[in-house]
């Protein structure tokens, strides 16, 4: 979530919709553990926001499917991006950025990387005290991340 700070600082002055968008994605992902991949995918793709710009929804739909249900991808899933004006280099870049952050997420979660102190206030604003405390306890080995 560290990179959401860039969106906070450079995208919109109205943080409410941005925070709501990020929380909705997190809920879709977290609850996805209780759902089938297709149900989680449907919930995440359905997340919408008025702050999204033209082309964002097509990019997000691909990144969401790639993250939650990569085995369901087909060539047809690239067509909405082409229809929105993205060329193959841009499509490649969408996939690669999503890959890159999936990699960094796995690295952080597998080795117990704790959020830096300077990012704590933003994390608290995004997800609240309880979620932040749970993250810090997990990172410090005080409780398992999952049962």
């Amino acid at each position: 979530m560290s990179h959401a700070g860039y969106l906070r600082d450079h995208w919109t002055d109205d943080l409410g919709p941005l925070i709501a968008l990020i929380r909705a994605w997190r809920v879709a992902g977290a609850e996805g553990a209780e759902l089938t991949p297709r149900e989680a995918l449907a919930a995440a793709v359905a997340v919408d926001s008025p702050i999204l710009e033209p082309g964002d929804r097509e990019i997000l739909a691909l990144a969401i499917r790639q993250t939650l249900a990569p085995r369901t991808l087909t060539a047809a899933h690239l067509e909405p991006l082409r229809a929105a004006g993205f060329d193959d280099v841009a499509i490649h870049d969408v996939v690669h950025v999503a890959c890159c952050f999936a990699y960094m997420n796995r690295l952080a979660d597998a080795l117990g990387v704790e959020l830096e102190e300077r990012k704590v206030a933003w994390a608290r604003e995004l997800f609240g005290d309880a979620a932040l405390a749970a993250h810090q306890a997990w990172a410090r080995g005080q409780e398992p991340s999952a049962t």
Binding site: M1, S2, H3, A4, Y6, L7, H10, W11, I22, W25, R26, A28, G29, A30, G32, A33, A44, G55, D56, I59, L60, A63, I64, T67, L68, V89, A90, D93, V94, H96, V97, A98, C100, F101, A102, Y103, M104, N105, R106, L107, A108, D109, L111, G112, V113, E114, L115, E116, E117, R118, A123, F127, A131, L132, H135, G141
Partner: protein, 79 residues
């Protein structure tokens, strides 16, 4: 900071070079620091990150960060 033992940011000359420019008041970002046990890995991953993120792609920084945010949120990764 992490569950494995990590050398200091300037533990070796190679590490000092690899992390130069990234060290802030409290050291390198933690997710970068966790790669310090292998400087070749650290260099390789940073090279990939810089090629496709931080404005390195054709998408522009805002869209890169939007993708990073949705992926991290869906993965429920707090970092």
């Amino acid at each position: 900071m992490a569950w494995i033992e990590l050398p200091g940011d300037e533990g070796t000359r190679e590490l000092e070079r690899a992390t130069r420019g990234m060290r802030r008041g409290t050291g390198v970002p933690h997710v970068v620091g966790v790669m310090k046990p292998s400087v070749p890995t650290l260099r390789g991953v940073l090279a990939m990150n810089n090629a496709v993120t931080f404005g390195g792609s054709t998408l522009g920084r805002r869209r890169e960060e939007l993708i990073s945010t949705v992926v991290s949120a869906l993965n429920d990764c707090f970092y």
